[in-house]
Amino acid sequence: MLLLCLMMPAWAQSKPATVTIWGWRAQDVDVWKSVETALKAKGEQITIKYEVFPPTEYDSKLLVSLQGGVGPDLMYTRRLPGARTQALIDNSYLVPLDSSVDLSNFDNVSLSFIRSNNKTWGVPFANQIVGIFYNKAMFDKYKLKEPQTWDELVQVAETLQKNGITPFFVSGKEAWTLAMQNAMVGVSYPGDAWIGKLAEGKAKFTDPEYVNMLKDLNALKKYYQKDFMANTTAEQDVAFAMEQVAMVFYGVWGNTNWLKTNPDLKFDYFPVPPKDKNLPAKAYIYMDGAYGLSSASKNKDAALKVLNYAGTKAYGELFSSTTGEITAIKGVTMPASKPILVKCYNKMVTIASTNRYWVGSPFDAGMPSVYNILQENMQKMYLDQMTPEELAKKLQDGISTWYPAFKK
């Protein structure tokens, strides 16, 4: 609290300032408006200018602008490990925040996604959880329960298919969803602990634990919608919302779209179950992004005030209720109007996987990353142009070119 006093001298409290924020999330426009209102209510004369850039172009815009000495005060950054954010840090475009922002409302896991060299480089804004979302009505109709093992999952799919319902909708054309699917299955089957060994180099992608997972995943495709390799996530969202399909492998952020398309949709979540019933089911959790402070900012005091506010519980509630996504701030109650958030938040706290290999993992810090290799090659496997064994080998070989623990 001493820190807070140190950085808010009385004379600075009423100096008007404009804080520019650049981000890629259009859904945050209203959030920042509310933040401005909240800060004004506290007597801070801060105007927030939030500019949105499409997510695919955001990095180019940011990089080019920063190098030209033109940029925002606060910038959205992605997580660590991650080459883009690391590049910002390595080139001194970001300011470490440990001594100027109160980060007590964040748990270590969230913070670990934006820490490097024992310094914290941003204020996390959201955590995401991925897994299987399912249509409750369909499950109830056929008296299906959330499966506890992989084989039960296959059974559920089989039952649904026999009754004329498409069990899964998979967006094969958008390869990143296939990488995500692989990753969310991986934390349960073969599991969190195994990934831990993998990260230390004590296990390989070519081990039977992993190859069997690939085989089972590949076998699952008979339960996907016909011609799934040509579908996109937009179509997936519509199909799920319009109750044409029972389950999707997706993330909690999907709920906003689904409910907008069909407000009456009753859906729920379960993590991908393990193959071995003695292993725990885990959920893939990662921090979505953070707000970083630009080292070139001319409004650091005002920007820090915004950042500090973004670290409060009040902000967390505001964020979740406005965007329908899960804030990174701990101890925030999810809006009751969104039961899915409540459930997911609870899962985040209870079954988050400690180890992972997709985004926010050490395997994402170099090229080719697991993410990279999975994208194209999962497509190949699903198209029967690659066997599960070959995919496993591709992963192992690719990562071995740079990952220290694999190189020995």
Binding site: L88, K173, S369
Partner: protein, 330 residues
Amino acid sequence: MRGRAGRSLSDRPGKAGPSEARPTLYLSEVDVRKYSFLWMLFPALLLYTVFIAYPFFSSLGLSFYDWPGIGPKKFIGLSNYKNILSGFMAPEFYRALGHNIVFFIWSLILSVVPGLFFAFLLSADIKGTKFLKVIYFFPNTLAIVVVGFLWGLLLNPQWGLVNQLFRVLGLGFLAKPWLGNTSTALPTIIFVTAWRGLGFYILVYLAAILGIDREMTEAARIDGATEMQIAGRIILPHLLPIIATTSMLKFIWTFNIFDIVYAMEGTQGGPAGSTDVLGTLFYRIAFGGLGSSQVGMGLGATVVTLIFLLVFPVSIFYVFIVEKRVERGE
């Protein structure tokens, strides 16, 4: 009677040699007044050099460096080139190059053949075809990403128009996941590109056809030639220069293709890299795509330099050979 545009110079009696009525200037004649016209060239040259040529050529120079787009540059000589042509990135590069070549060949066929066909039709004595020209050119006015986006919807395998139409027509076996199969994705994108661009070729060929001397065709008709013979023996040969020109343009454009693939399959050039072209490869390397942080601007510059080296000779060929022929022939 005023001559028509495109009349042959050879009907000027007594005039031989390459330069017709143009004032030829020799550098030895340092007559400032005679050079006065050159100022008219400067604005374009200046703008172009400062804002296009210089940035590009300095970017091409990046190919000799290792540079992640931010921070210090490290000189590495020809390493990037080695990497792309025979090293780690080589398979991806050659695959993309192969796709560009396929793209060019099919694109050319799909533009020239229907282009000529419809141009012939439009030049015939059929009533009421004027408004068709507008319709045919219209897709060309749409942004490429919009075209890609629209067709992406139409090609949805479950409920998109294309497949629905096939089913309705009893051709259900054709109702495939066009953008989801490695064997059909690239041809589909080529088709969509042709859809957008056909109007341009139709109009250009129509122009060329209409510019042909009527007397020649009338004379042939009187001599008893059929319409087909007229088309093949008189008109087509006359169109060769314009076909050559449009082919050159097409060549340049297809090697720089990016937007349509980006719009229909993303920067990864899926599925499984089957639609990856040099443009998407460059973009991924230089700017990163979904799930791949960039490898480096230096490497990206290498790809662009190689594209440029491939493509520019065609422009040279055009300026020195085709144009000369055109000058002589018209």
